[in-house]
Amino acid sequence: MADDREPPPLFDDEKPDKKEDEDDLFATPNEAPKEEIKDEPASLPTEPAQDKASEDLFAADDDLFGEAVKEVDTSKLRRKLTEDVDDLSPPLTPLEEPKPLIPTPADSSKAPPKKEPPKEKVKKYSQAKEPKPLIPTQADSSKAPKKDASENKNPPPKEEAKKKEDSQTKEAKPSKKEPASMAKEQPPLKPMKVSVDLHPPKPGEGEEVDLDSPETEGPSSPAKMEPDSDSSPLEAPPMAEVLPPAKPVIEEKPKPTPAPRKPSMEKSKEEVGYTSFAQIEEEESGDQFALDIKVHDPGKIGDGMGAYMSYKVTTQCLDFGEEKKTSIPAFRRPSMTVTRRFSDFLGLHEKLSQKHTHIGRIVPPAPEKSVVGMTKIKMSKEDTSSTEFVEKRRALLERFLQRISLHPVLQMDPDFRDFLEQDELPRATSTSAVSGAGVLRLIKGVGDTFSKVTIKMDESDQWFEEKQNQVEALDQQLKKLHASVEALVTYRKELGISTSAFAKSTAMLSNSEEHTALSRALSQLAEVEEKIELVHLEQADNDFFLLSELLKDYIGIIQAIRVVFHERVKSFHNWQNAQQNLAKKREQEAKFKQTGKTDKIAQAQEEIREWEGKVEKGREDFEEISKTIRTEIRRFETNRVKDFRNIIIKYMETLMNSQQQLIKYWEGFLPEAKAIA
């Protein structure tokens, strides 16, 4: 019978063609990726040019830092003068900068936990007569902690130390960046943290006591060290490192600069205390005090092209008044509401990233400016798309603030708190120029040089290489997924719209249906479909606000991470440059010695010392930023896991609820359909 004939013929006819097509199709995608891969390396050679440009920039940076370093190191240099004579023998070795380069980063990562290996290396290196400045400091940093711990107990002050302190505090005053970075310098030396830990609890109680304690402690260290070891050059560096932790407390006096509206000593001191407190917390990855931030009541202010949107920002300190957190610099009020406009948010982001990005902190990305969306609002079109736009942006701004508030360091930032607290905020001027697009362009430029530079970095730290690859892969996948979700949102919205159209047409049909029961059933069907339309639209909103926005936020955060990675590369370059310069200076000095130009030797040695300081500073900065980034990435990943898990579950619940509603509606309709007779 014909029954035996299969429908496949249906396809058979087409299959030959199709298969051929497939083959072709499969062939192309295989080739395509290859080409892409080829492209990448091809683009690399073009980069060095950019690289140089950025190096120049770094060189400029060096000068800025240089001064600071110079002053700190003067004492060290003085002592070293005597020692440096020994260095005459290996004048050419410095040329081999690559060597120290590689081991040191590795050391830096190992140094804090294990003190033994670095020491061994130090010995080896000094035997091999490697450039000293690098190594001694390394040794110091590993030795210093032990001493400090004991020093803290015997406090005989020393003048020199005090002077240094003063000079450093002075330096700290002018630029806000300095204290932040300095304060952060303690982490590599683990034991140092102990001393920091001791302070914060105090600020809560007696203010003046605090002020004294660091000073008595600070001076103590040199005093102890001098009698302890005669190898004086070793001492200076630890000194420099001892100071920073104490500084945040000393800073109280200059502090009014960042928070000029709060001249009271108490207030500023509290802040200082908390900064370190927060850092400790960060280390422990414990909970910080929580802020509940809501952005609400978006409103249009003004008319025409000058119009802008303003938002109300309400902050609630959830832990306000709670015992264990009372020492936290809670705000003046447990709850406050301020009015902010969009550019204020951008301004906040700008300020935060200026302060924090360069030391490796991931600042949550600010929302982008949207010319189209704003223009619509300015034209005062009260259509759905503009209300949708405003709602999207409101949610975006809220998440932006919440992300900052969750960051243990950023939540303490005076600018952030002013943003939440101050009634009037100085108008952010630069922000209009620094629109989202501008930032993106900047980041893109950074990204280009980025890949090239990373290749150098790979050797130095596997962890970073791995993380960078992971982040890149994640970025790619998130972007793809985001596009799919966007498509889903569009389709589901259209489904909602078409369902609504069907409901209307069915209602019409039911009107003209002459059979009463059928007419009734059709009008019921129309009602059901109307409800289903709402289910679809609501679900589309959920698709968007939960899933799509989550992905988009993370794509933005990954951008911020890239920037931070790049900052590390920059820092690495600074350090490397300093080393190269140091090598050059040494070479010069050797030449002078060979040629017998004794008058110039002194100056050359001075310069060497100066560059030694810079190398040291560069190394510290690099270690610092690497460490911060590690912490930040860990935080990012913990938060990401939490965020994704929570939101995905929430999202799945919305899907489930939608289906539950559908069940309800259709079950309501079934008897109506059965009633048709």
């Binding site: 035996d4 429908p7 013929p9 249906l10 497939e22 192309t28 003209s512 059709l522 489930m656």
Partner: protein, 425 residues
């Protein structure tokens, strides 16, 4: 029935077998035909050759008019159309609603989509491509089955009709085992057809003011015209709705594969979450696709069939109105003939005869039309009832399945979340 089709190892067939609802049939049952063993027709097989579809029409009968009791012939779509036109052109059947002709097999949309998919293959992963292709093939098969079903329904309705089943052309169509050598209409004929349909619609407009003494028909006319417009609108909207639903289901594919590949590059315990959700979307896409295809079968297709049936009923009313107009004209002619030439008896007699014929035709038509329209209404209500009930049942079934699916997924995610939290500490 279409065993051959169902044997194919495709997705739909597999699902059909699994289908728990006994009433579920992949085909539209727009017409509820009372079973009559005397003449039963089905399309046992269908073949697609290039742009041509060959239907194997299988007939089983106890009627003495047929030479055999069981036989099969191969027919093409054009032959169905030919058969339909024979009925339309036959004046004898003027009083009946002629079952609407089956729509032309149209797989262009599916083919086009497949081609588009091929072009866009580079933009998606192999997995996505395979899934999309499967979807399209399933879609193609569904369209094909639907086409076959529409042709079958057409024949079945003819077979069930007391007048049509006796038609000679119909018998020839069923019995003659050779090609009926029906060619496509040539240009001239097409033009003629076009002019005819144009003149009909013009006529319809002219006849719109035709006074009808019969209230029933007056009402029916108003109803059908409006109903036709609205059901057309409804069909369009329903089609769009099911199409969008399918798009939503299809977009789950990308979501699922996207989550899957996200899981592979994930370095935290989130990979499990992504895999779970990916799996969940893969399942839910199948269910959503079923929702879409069921809505299509139960809702859109019912609407579509009655759109065409309404159109056929409208044609019937047109024919009746035409007859009425003819009758009235004949009356006028008779009056004129009587008034003009009292003496010429012959002329009057001719007019009388014409009037008589027109009257008879009209009355006959009206009588048949009345019962046909009532029949139409009954048929419509029955089909709507059946399909709406089934639609609601299927919607509930799918929504419950989806609900359960999501519930399980959430439970697993939460379970896993607790495990993950417990582990590190």
């Amino acid at each position: 029935m279409m065993d051959g089709l169902d044997d194919s190892p495709d997705l739909l067939a597999e699902d059909d077998n699994k289908s728990e609802t006994p009433t579920y049939d992949p085909r539209t049952e727009s017409v509820d035909l009372t079973k009559d063993d005397t003449l039963s027709i089905d399309i046992s097989d269908a073949l697609s050759e290039r742009d041509r579809v060959k239907f194997t029409v299988h007939t089983k009968t106890t009627l003495p008019d047929f030479r055999e009791s069981e036989f099969s012939v191969v027919r093409q779509h054009e032959e169905f159309i030919w058969l339909h036109d024979r009925f339309v052109e036959n004046e004898e059947y003027g009083g009946y609603i002629i079952p609407p002709a089956p729509p032309r097999p149209d797989f262009d949309a599916s083919r086009e989509k497949l081609q588009k998919l091929g072009e866009g293959e580079g933009t998606m992963t192999k997995e996505e491509f395979t899934k999309m292709k499967q979807e399209l093939e399933a879609e193609y098969l569904a369209t094909f089955k639907k086409t076959v079903a529409m042709h079958e329904v057409f024949l079945q309705r003819l077979a069930a009709h007391p007048a049509f089943r006796k038609d000679t052309n119909f018998r020839v169509f069923l019995e003659y085992d050779q090609d009926l050598s029906v060619r496509l209409k040539n240009k001239k004929e097409k033009l003629g057809w076009f002019i005819k349909s144009m003149s009909q619609s013009v006529d319809e407009v002219l006849l719109a003011n035709q006074k009808d003494a019969d209230e029933f028909f007056e009402q029916e006319k108003g109803f059908l015209v409006e109903y036709h417009n609205r059901i057309a609108q409804s069909t369009k909207c329903a089609d769009r709705m099911t199409k969008m639903h399918k798009s939503v289901a299809d977009s789950y594919i990308k979501l699922s594969t996207g989550l899957g590949s996200l899981a592979t590059c994930e370095n935290t315990e989130l990979d499990k979450v992504f895999n779970k959700v990916s799996e969940c979307f893969e399942k839910s896409r199948k269910l959503e696709a079923r929702v879409s295809s069921d809505e299509d079968l139960k809702l859109s297709d019912t609407l579509r069939y009655y759109l065409r049936d309404t159109s056929a009923a409208k044609d019937l009313l047109y024919r009746r109105t035409r007859a009425l107009a003819d009758y009235e004209n004949a009356n006028k002619d008779l009056d004129k003939a009587r008034a003009k030439n009292r003496n010429v008896q012959q002329e009057v007699a001719v007019a009388e005869q014409a009037q008589q014929r027109a009257c008879e035709k009209y009355e006959h038509l009206s009588e048949l039309a009345k019962s046909e329209l009532q029949d139409f209404k009954k048929r419509r209500v029955g089909a709507f009832r059946k399909n709406l009930v089934e639609l609601a049942e299927l919607e509930i079934k799918h929504a419950k399945a989806l609900n359960q699916l999501y519930r399980n997924c959430i439970a697993q995610l939460k379970e896993e979340g607790r495990g993950a939290k417990a582990q590190p500490q």
